[in-house]
Symmetry: C2
Amino acid sequence: MPQKKPTRPDATPAGRLVEARLHHVMGYQLAQATIATTLVYMREVGDPFELRPVEYTILSLINENPDGSAAQLAQALSVTAPNITMWIDKLEGRGLVQRTRSETDKRAQHLRLTDKGATLVTQATEKLLLGEREAFAHLSEGERTILIELLHKVALTRPARKG
Amino acid sequence: MPQKKPTRPDATPAGRLVEARLHHVMGYQLAQATIATTLVYMREVGDPFELRPVEYTILSLINENPDGSAAQLAQALSVTAPNITMWIDKLEGRGLVQRTRSETDKRAQHLRLTDKGATLVTQATEKLLLGEREAFAHLSEGERTILIELLHKVALTRPARKG
DNA sequence: TATTGTTATACTCTATAACTATA
DNA sequence: TATAGTTATAGAGTATAACAATA
C-alpha cells in the first residue's frame, strides 16, 4: 500500500522544507497556490489552445465587457499600455479580437471578440472551471466559495496606494 | 464628502469591468490578489531592500532550513535548476548566502545564510507581516487565517500531476 | 544510469521613453 | 495639458541543451 508521507502543516508543498515564519506571509501562500492553479491552467487551456494566462484573461474580460477600451484592460490586469497593445495585436492577428475606433472619442477604440474568439473563450472557461473543480476536489464547495470571496476582498485593496 | 463609487461584487478591482464568469476561476482571483500583495511586498521589502520576491523567498527558506540543497529550493519554488544557480549566485555575491560542499555527497552543497542575510530576512519578514496586516485590515484576523490555510490546501495539490 | 550543480544561450515577458492624434 | 494608443528598444526573467562531477 502506498503510504503517503505525512506532511507538517508548515512544510512547503514540494521540496519538503520548513516554512514556519513564511507560512503566514500572504504573498508567499498566493505564489505557492498559483503554482498549482497554473499547472491546471496549462493543462486545460494554455497548452491545448496555445493561450497564455494573460491572453485568456484579456479574452474573458472583453467577452464580458463588449466595447470596453484597452486602457481599462491595462488597468484591470496591471499591465502597461504598450504591452496591452502587443497582446491585443497578437489576439487580433489570430482573429480572436476586433478593434474598432470609437465615434464619440476618436482616440479610443472599442474591443470585441470575433465569433471565433467568443467560442474559444467559452470552451476555455468551461474546461478551466471543471479542471479546477477536479484538481481541488479536496476542498469542499463551501471552501472554494470562501476562498474566491476572500481573494476578491484582498484584490479590492489595490486602488489605495497607501493604507 | 468623497462618495465611494459602489462596486458590483463581480467587478474587477481596477478598471471597473464585469467579470461574472471569470469571477469563479481560482487562477484569476489568485492573480488579482497577487497584484495587491505584490504592491505591499514592493513597498515594504522589495524597494527598500532591493530584493525580488523570489530572492526573499529563497532567503526565507534557507533561513528556516539551514544546510538545505539548491535542488530542494528549485522544487519548492518551481524554478529551474539553472535559475536557482543564478539567484543564489546573486545572493552569494551580496554576501547574504554561503555555499559549502557536502561531505557525505560531494555533488550537493549546503546553503546557509550569513549573519547579514539572517538579519535582513528577519527584518524583511517583520515588515512584510506588519504591512500585510495593515493593508488587508478590512479582513478580520480569522479571515486572514482561513485564507492562508485554504491557499495552503490548494498549494498541496501540486505533487499530483493528474487527478 | 541518475542526480547535483553549472555554463551558455535563446526566448518570453515587461518596462521605459518618445511619439501621434485626439480631447 | 492630459489621455488613448502606438512604436522602438532595453532590461528582467525563464527555459532548454549540453556539460562536469559524483553517486
